[in-house]
Symmetry: D2
Subunit: 151 residues, 4 copies
């Protein structure tokens, strides 16, 4: 297995994932090289992340017209382990790797129907003020939800 | 300035960029949080990269029907330094950071019209056999072109 | 119900659909007006169409490296009957409306979980020679498959 | 030239266009059939339309947080006249074909660098109440701007 700096031990790293969404590779997502275009995994990661935030109850809060905060992506990365082809079905897993005061680090893993890892990734999300654009601390309720989910 | 592990010294890192493409943020690239959706910078990076490969003469080679090799993305990452809004004009810079036997590391930087860095990134591209999917060494001609461009 | 020139009678038009694919609206498909961006229904239509072509056995043929023909879209249209929001689940139906010598007309309908039509559409697909770009007649086998599916 | 029901006379239809935006076909917009994916022209049309609405001063109004109205697409269609390839530069023209009380019909034409029409299209935009979702009449100022632009 390739050396990836955010994965210490593959087996334990992999077994920590529980939440996932399912997707199927669309024709419009495949490029002239006949494989999934490299920009699309980030769409899959976002889809998993948004569903994860719904599960946490965060999405409902951020989507309210009066909400003072929104989540922003601070950084994002993806390692492409295997080429992915049209019509493949993928499970896209997501988990919390670190909980900060105003941010969280999320890890991602997509596996195909043979249970092979095809994509892994990570990224930091920061909660910011809608107007200020500055980091805003998680509320108590949010922190509780995050810690409960991380276990 | 934020600490980013692939940037040692901002000033020299920034001054090393020469090649760039220009893009304007489309409405369909903006999401309900009213900023550029986080998946789109990778589209901009690819656009710059493909134009860069055209400049190098690689794209013409890989696109030939009889070509035995294609480029694949091994990994990709992006740091989002500033929120980006509808209709902003960006210059997306790209440069070679490392030349390997079968791969290259590319760095990216997008700046807005105020000359502020809004996105930075990096990623590795590997040349692989179309059928084998295994890494294939750059030809002499390709290596020459890469070294000339890196200077 | 709105007057749409390719729909004579809504009830019989609707009851003729059988084949469908299912999709869920992604966050990245929603725009700053908080509804599904108008460009995305065509992605859903294509997804249904490609699955339909797989069912017909056409996709397998066109995707072979040695294939002499490919399908091209001659025209496409969509009527947006209801605004569509993030996370809605849609069934996207497709059917054959007309079989020509080198082309077919396809009709589309997307319904939400309340069984309401939210999108309807139509478009013509032409089979063309890969090199010539000129229309190429359906083979006997293809015509048989089309007529069987249309019933 | 193909018979298209919203184009009476090609020469006069074409000469009525003045406003346009320019775009270049991205690699990620090309599909395994090596031509522009059929879903992308609608992205180009929207891009032209939004710039057109900016020119009219409408976009500024609809984007204000307190705006009571938004534009919605009622229908949209595209005729694909020629295959379009990676890296082609297109001028995407837009014009007003009809002004209604609450809606407008817009026509589109994309031409390549050889001045050939590669795409034509049309569609209706309706101004609706943000909450009601019901059509809302153009204001006097908006009607003036529309009529001035149509000339």
């Amino acid at each position: 297995m390739q050396k990836i700096d955010y994965i210490k031990d593959w087996d334990s790293w992999r077994s920590d994932f529980h939440f996932f969404t399912t997707t199927k590779v669309r024709f419009s997502e495949v490029d002239p090289f006949n494989h999934l275009n490299n920009t699309v995994p980030f769409v899959y990661f976002e889809d998993a992340r948004i569903q994860f935030f719904k599960e946490l109850g965060f999405m409902q809060q951020w989507s309210q017209p009066g909400s003072q905060t929104i989540p922003v992506v601070a950084d994002l990365q993806c390692n492409y382990l295997k080429q992915i082809y049209f019509d493949e079905k993928l499970n896209v897993y997501i988990k919390i790797a670190r909980i900060g005061t105003t941010s969280i680090d999320l890890h991602y893993m997509a596996i195909n129907t043979k249970e092979e890892e095809v994509l892994v990734g990570r990224g930091r999300i920061v909660q910011v003020g809608k107007k200020s654009g500055k980091p805003e601390a998680w509320s108590e309720t949010m922190l509780d939800a995050l810690h409960k989910m991380k276990k």
